[in-house]
């Protein structure tokens, strides 16, 4: 490696360490629950956006049905806690079950939907999403329109958010590491080959269905865990909130804003959009105006930074240096 290359890696590494330290220290510095609240939701969505990106960004198959995993994870945690009478910290121990649910759903979901063209895939994911939302309404074990409530945590309000923050941070960090590992691996290469030209990839010996399904399952499992954390934090899941039609569109925007297919992209996108949206809506009371603003923001992003912030900035940096 050249000296310049080594310096760049060192800089990147230092940046990473700094970011990690900042993330860990955040609740101490900003200890007001109002601030850590933004942190919790931001990190949940960092996890989701990264997970979504590992499948959709890398393979090129845009999924608008990830809310299926999110909501299923949420309901899993709620139903198990309710039926097995789990309370307090023990509920966190149930989170791996959310991953299992996500994975178990992803397999048939993927087998059915990954056989079709990309446009059709998008619509199938939407259809499956609605099927799940409607099932949540119709089955009694999901509580119907009432939904499921989380066990009450009698913790002090000033530090209530902190354990959630760290768990969300753990999930996010884990997912980012996973995404990075995949990107560098042969598996990641195969995914990108599929994105670029699936027929040619097949000709080169890649088994598209297996690769896509594996990525889909992983993505679904992690999204399920994020859903579980979200549910326990919010203390309630109902069909329209666990399976929210706008969920996937927000995630697409986050990944896109940051840069589809990159690692840092979805992270950046989620960190900007989720707290930003929550904060703006909490402060700017004209909801209609904020819709217009949000829409305009999307347009600006898509039109002027079509590849996303991270790749575009990398380009600028490269141009500046040359």
């Amino acid at each position: 490696m050249t000296t310049a290359g080594r310096t760049l890696t060192a800089v990147k590494l230092a940046g990473l360490v700094l970011a990690a330290a900042a993330a860990i220290a955040f609740p101490w510095v900003f200890s007001n629950p109002v601030d850590t609240n933004y942190g919790v939701y931001a990190l949940i969505f960092v996890t989701v956006a990264s997970a979504w990106n590992v499948f959709s960004g890398f393979s090129g198959y845009i999924s608008l049905g990830h809310a299926v995993f999110f909501g299923s994870g949420a309901y899993t945690l709620g139903i198990v806690a309710r039926d097995w009478h789990v309370t307090g910290n023990g509920v966190f121990a149930l989170l791996p079950l959310c991953a299992v649910t996500g994975a178990v759903i992803a397999v048939p979901f993927g087998l059915v939907s990954l056989r079709v063209r990309r446009h059709t895939f998008i619509v199938i994911t939407i259809a499956v999403f609605f099927i799940f939302q409607l099932m949540a309404y119709n089955f009694s074990f999901t509580g119907g329109s009432i939904g499921v409530s989380a066990p009450f945590l009698a913790w002090s309000p000033s530090t209530y958010n902190d354990p959630f923050y760290y768990i969300a941070l753990g999930c996010a960090a884990g997912m980012i590491a996973l995404a990075w590992a995949i990107r560098r691996s042969r598996f990641g290469l195969r995914l990108r080959a599929i994105r670029d030209d699936e027929d040619r990839a097949r000709g080169l010996g890649v088994h598209p269905m297996r690769v896509k399904l594996a990525a889909f399952t992983l993505s679904g499992a992690v999204t399920g865990v994020a859903g579980g954390v979200w549910f326990f934090y919010l203390t309630q899941v109902q069909p329209p909130s666990g399976f929210d039609p706008l969920f996937d569109l927000s995630v697409v925007l986050m990944a896109f804003l940051g840069g589809l297919g990159s690692i840092a992209g979805p992270v950046l996108g989620a960190l900007l959009i989720e707290p930003g949206q929550l904060y703006l809506t909490a402060r700017v009371t004209n909801g209609y105006l904020s819709e217009i603003l949000l829409g305009s923001l999307f347009l600006v992003v898509v039109l002027f930074m079509p590849r996303g912030i991270v790749p575009t900035s990398a380009d600028w940096l490269r141009k500046a240096r040359s």
Partner: protein, 351 residues
């Protein structure tokens, strides 16, 4: 959280936040209100989706959570309310809403009672309990159920279930609706099918005053019934004062006021009385006070909370649009003060 006007006599600042009907946003809003804005008191939102997460944030901080609507059993059933008992609903518990209607049917001699009834219900924790209770009671009175189905709340088209109801020819329709569009859609489909139920009562929608009339038209509104805890002509001093102030401030006529106004105002009144009685805004004291069995007053009548947080002394009333849809009158219970003669048979559709 959406509170209407009608402010208390003290310098009270109302911090109102928009929630875009998103629970995540509601959670953030309440944490912001309590943690950053340091509000002293919290009131509840008007939606089944939002009430539970909001009340649980309030419970975490030990805040009283008083609401004007949202008295579904599921709201009091949450783990946080069971632990902290902070949820209070000033209005009638919703499952009792249809009781005056049932009682009226019961008061008829058996031979004169309607024979059949249809119960279409939207899939919502607020719409279903009163209709289901009405169904079981009316069945016990000998009214045959010819249609009873739950339809998705967010359905794009109500024509199919509405046509089924019309095909059943039921003499009574008890519609589990939560908003005006649902009622309007059913009414339109009935009209297209040349079907006129003798009695048509909806859980919500016709109580939205001008909002209802503008959607269905006065002629069609005539005869429509809805349970309500309040109406503009209610013979109660503070209620009349509210009506005068509201019309003075917002224009329109008293009959254009929706019941949401009174519900929200009652919440404020109850809180004001609690604050005055406990001498401050200590929420723990307020919660204890509200649970102490004291009877408070509001524009909707007396308020006394049971251990669950429900208002046990509120009266259920049923209202009806009359006089060609120009008057919204209290009709049931027949013997209650302020009730006028009920239009027993719904007038024909008028378009």
């Amino acid at each position: 959280m959406n509170a209407h006007g009608g402010l208390l006599g003290h310098p009270v600042k109302l911090d109102i936040l928009n929630d875009s009907s998103d629970p995540t946003q509601v959670d953030t809003n309440y944490q912001t209100l309590i943690g950053a804005d340091h509000v002293n008191l919290t009131f509840g939102p008007f939606s089944s989706l939002l009430t539970a997460p909001a009340s649980s944030v309030a419970a975490r901080y030990g805040y009283a959570f008083v609401e004007g609507a949202g008295g579904a059993p599921s709201v009091f059933d949450t783990p946080s309310n069971q632990a902290v008992h902070n949820v209070f609903d000033v209005s009638l518990p919703i499952k009792d809403e249809m009781v005056p209607f049932v009682n009226w049917i019961a008061s008829m001699p058996a031979s004169q009672r309607p024979k059949t009834a249809a119960y279409p219900m939207a899939d919502d924790p607020f719409a279903d309990p009163p209709v289901q209770l009405a169904q079981s009671e009316l069945q016990a009175l000998g009214v045959k159920t010819v249609y009873s189905k739950i339809f998705p709340e967010e359905v794009a088209d109500y024509k199919a279930p509405a046509d089924q109801v019309a095909a059943s020819g039921a003499q009574i329709v008890v519609l589990g609706s939560t908003d005006v569009p649902t009622v309007a859609a059913f009414m339109q489909a009935f009209e297209q099918q040349h079907y006129l139920p003798k009695m048509f009562i909806a859980a919500a929608g016709p109580d939205q005053g001008a909002g209802f009339i503008s959607a269905v038209g006065k002629g069609n509104a005539d005869g429509m019934m809805v349970p309500d805890g309040w109406y503009p002509g209610y013979d109660n001093a503070s209620s009349q004062a509210l009506v005068r102030e509201y019309v003075a401030k917002y224009g329109g006529s008293p009959s254009s006021m929706s019941s949401d106004v009174a519900e929200a105002y009652s919440v404020g009144q109850v809180m004001a009385q609690a604050v005055t009685a406990t001498g401050g805004t200590d929420n723990a004291k307020i919660i204890a006070y509200l649970h102490s069995g004291v009877t408070l007053t509001s524009v909707q009548g007396p308020v006394k909370f049971d251990s669950l947080g429900e208002n046990g002394v509120s009266d259920a009333f049923v209202f009806q649009w009359q006089d060609g849809g120009t008057q919204f009158n209290q009709v049931l219970p027949v013997s209650a003060a302020g009730s006028v003669a009920i239009t027993a048979v719904k007038p024909a559709w008028a378009s």
